[in-house]
């Protein structure tokens, strides 16, 4: 168990190392010598700032000194300095992260419930009308880009309702829960639904396929033969085994979204990590983008570790390989 965990943590550290190398290549090598400080300074930065950055990041030194300096700062938890806004990147990310967290966790609950339940319902009666309609609806949402669904939500559930006098949902923006719990909830309903519906479709397909496989197994026949109720067979015996691929996917998805639900945040103007990164492009504010990429990759690595841990506890066979 300890060895298994140790290997997974080592792999996670290796992934993070690769991410820092790629980030270094894109931002510190990609622009070409002489342009790096210019690129990191932000739009219309004065020459003094550019010179200061070149000095601070040791840009006149060889690449391995630069990279080591960059890595060392990260290891100290310092994500860099945003010269465009005159703020540390850490404080910008600390502001944005709660928004992304609210969006992701709320949506995750909704899509897991919808996806797994519709997948189970489809698999229990394959080729039934319910199965066909669930599969068809899932395919439509699966094919629908997130921003298309988000804009449809805004058009139908915000604009059309509002011009007919129903002010149920705000159009855009974020209210911190500390300010008003109700406004926080109301403002997140449409983004939650958008993110959840797009993701749920994949879970419907995944759960259905896994359940169909499991329901064909001998031990399910045995469970039925013992006289267990159908719901007990489906939920206790079959679903538990079918959840393995679902949990894997769930870990990856939540991890990725915690690094910024880029599209949804931009459609609904929620100032989370993904929104911050996209805004930073037009300001040519690259240090912020570096910070978000590092945090996002760390989120994926941590989510993968949690999933592995979950398996190791749940299923002893995993620890062996």
């Amino acid at each position: 168990m300890i060895r298994f965990l140790f290997r997974r943590i080592l792999l996670g550290a290796f992934v993070m190392f690769c991410v820092t190398v790629i980030v270094y290549l894109i931002f510190y090598v990609g622009p070409g010598p002489g342009y790096v400080a210019r690129a990191l300074a932000g739009r219309e930065a004065p020459p003094q700032t550019v010179a200061l950055i070149a000095h601070r990041l040791l840009l006149d030194r060889p690449w391995y000194v630069q990279y080591w300096h960059f890595l060392l700062q990260l290891l100290h938890g310092d994500l860099g300095y945003d010269y465009y806004h005159g703020q540390s990147v850490n404080s910008i990310i600390a502001q944005a992260f709660p928004v992304t967290l609210s969006l992701t966790l709320g949506a995750a609950v909704i899509w897991l419930v919808i996806g797994v339940l519709s997948g189970v319902a489809s698999a229990v009666k394959p080729r039934s009308l319910l199965d066909r309609s669930a599969t068809f609806v899932a395919l439509i949402f699966y094919s629908m880009p997130t921003f298309v669904l988000g804009l449809l939500m805004i058009e139908l559930l915000y604009y059309q309702l509002t011009i007919h006098g129903l002010h149920w949902f705000p159009g855009a923006g974020y209210t911190p829960p500390s300010q008003s719990l109700f406004e926080w909830f109301r403002g997140l309903i449409l983004p939650w639904l958008t993110l959840a519906l797009v993701s749920a479709a994949a879970y419907t397909r995944l759960t259905r396929a896994a359940m169909l496989d499991v329901l064909g197994e001998d031990y399910i026949r045995t469970a039925r033969a013992k006289g267990l109720s159908e719901s007990r067979v489906v939920f206790r015996h079959a679903l538990r085994a079918a959840l393995t691929p679902v949990v894997t996917q769930f870990g990856i998805d939540v991890g990725t979204l915690l690094g910024g639900a880029v599209i949804t945040e931009n459609v609904f103007g929620l100032p989370g990590l993904g929104y911050t990164a996209v805004q930073a492009i037009s300001d040519q504010d690259l240090p912020v983008i570096i910070g978000v990429v590092i945090v996002a990759s760390a989120a994926v690595v941590v989510a993968n570790l949690v999933v592995d841990l979950f398996y190791a506890v749940l299923d002893p066979r995993v620890r062996l390989h």
């Binding site: 790629i22 622009p31 690129a39 921003f147 804009l151 040519q284």
Partner: protein, 332 residues
């Protein structure tokens, strides 16, 4: 239930012709012919194929559509023809069948030209992903040992990297200054979008191919080829590759709609195809500011995108069911 031996080329062609004892009565059919026959019976897949063909024709003949309407893809018509006197898009009319956009351009013509970008990026990015993924998967599966371990770690890393944020990173640097990688210069445009999407999609292909190769590697005919003195790469290309082609093709058709959505998402965020090129994603981004005044500006590009991805997904599901019956899909 279809006997599992038919699905795979490996056991298909040769085995079948041996088993077909009275050759006069039974016509030998290759697994590809069998798959095609199954696909043709799938009504949803055939409709989807028709839709895909229509979209491809629209993309190919976009200049003809432009000529017929007399409007160029980037021609901006002044008010009151192109926009209203207040500068808002004009509603669909006889002159502009799908209406105009905020700059007074013909939406129909721009959507047709947008189909070119979508299909081109979708197909090229998929090709790139499949080529890289197949090479990596074949090498990892066939050589095993240290090659497999190293490549497996590379795949793990690729799958743990948030795609959109790295695409944004590249785009943000490129928007300041072009990136030079040796002789290659990366600039904003179709090229970088294809490379970014392809680079972040090959890892799954590699995993699938590797799994298939592991099963094939130990077969007798591979051993026979080896004992005849065939080199590793010759065996991989001549003996292994044809037998993993079915899952590769199945996954590739499902990768095309994903690539199309990825391209549209990048352009929607303003880091894909730069303006003024007609592109569905950037059209939708422009249109979202006018959703109250000009529904057609938002709805038609959205419809084009949804219909395209839906058609490819339905077709991909159909191809999977027809050519790779063992992988359980949406219709079992």
């Amino acid at each position: 239930m279809i006997p599992s031996s038919i699905g795979m080329p490996e056991s298909g062609a040769e085995a079948m012709s041996e088993e077909a004892a009275p050759p006069s009565a039974i016509q030998g059919r290759s697994p590809w012919q069998l798959g095609w026959a199954r696909l043709r019976r799938d009504r949803a897949a055939m409709i989807a194929l028709g839709v895909v063909v229509v979209i491809a024709l629209v993309a190919i003949f976009a200049p003809v559509i432009a000529a017929l309407t007399g409007h160029g893809p980037n021609a901006e018509y002044p008010p009151p023809i192109g926009t209203t006197v207040d500068g808002l898009p004009n509603a669909p009319s006889a002159g502009f069948l799908l209406g105009t956009d905020d700059l007074g351009r013909d939406l129909l013509v721009r959507i047709a030209y947008g189909a070119r970008v979508s299909l081109l990026v979708g197909v090229l990015a998929t090709l790139l992903a499949v080529v890289i993924g197949a090479i990596v998967g074949l090498a990892a599966g066939y050589f095993g040992r240290i090659v497999d371990t190293v490549l497996a770690r590379v795949v793990d890393v690729m799958l743990s990297i948030p795609f959109l944020l790295f695409a944004i990173s590249l785009a943000s640097v490129v928007s300041v200054t072009p990136i030079h990688i040796g002789p290659i210069v990366l600039q904003q445009g179709i090229g970088i979008v294809v490379i970014v999407i392809g680079t972040f999609s090959w890892a799954t292909v590699a995993r699938i191919v590797r799994g298939q190769v592991l099963a094939i590697r130990e077969k007798e005919y591979i051993e026979a080829a080896r004992s005849l003195g065939a080199g590793s790469w010759r065996i991989i290309v001549v003996d292994v590759l044809p037998n993993v082609l079915a899952p590769i093709i199945v996954y590739a058709t499902l990768l095309i709609p994903l690539s199309i959505v990825a391209e549209a998402s990048l352009s929607y965020l303003g880091v894909g195809i730069p303006p003024p090129a007609a592109d569905w994603g950037s059209m939708i981004a422009d249109a979202q500011q006018y959703y109250q005044e000009a529904w057609w500006f938002l709805v038609f590009p959205c419809l084009a995108l949804i219909i395209t991805t839906l058609a490819f997904n339905v077709l991909g599901d159909g191809i999977r069911d027809a050519f790779d019956p063992r992988s359980s899909g949406s219709r079992t």
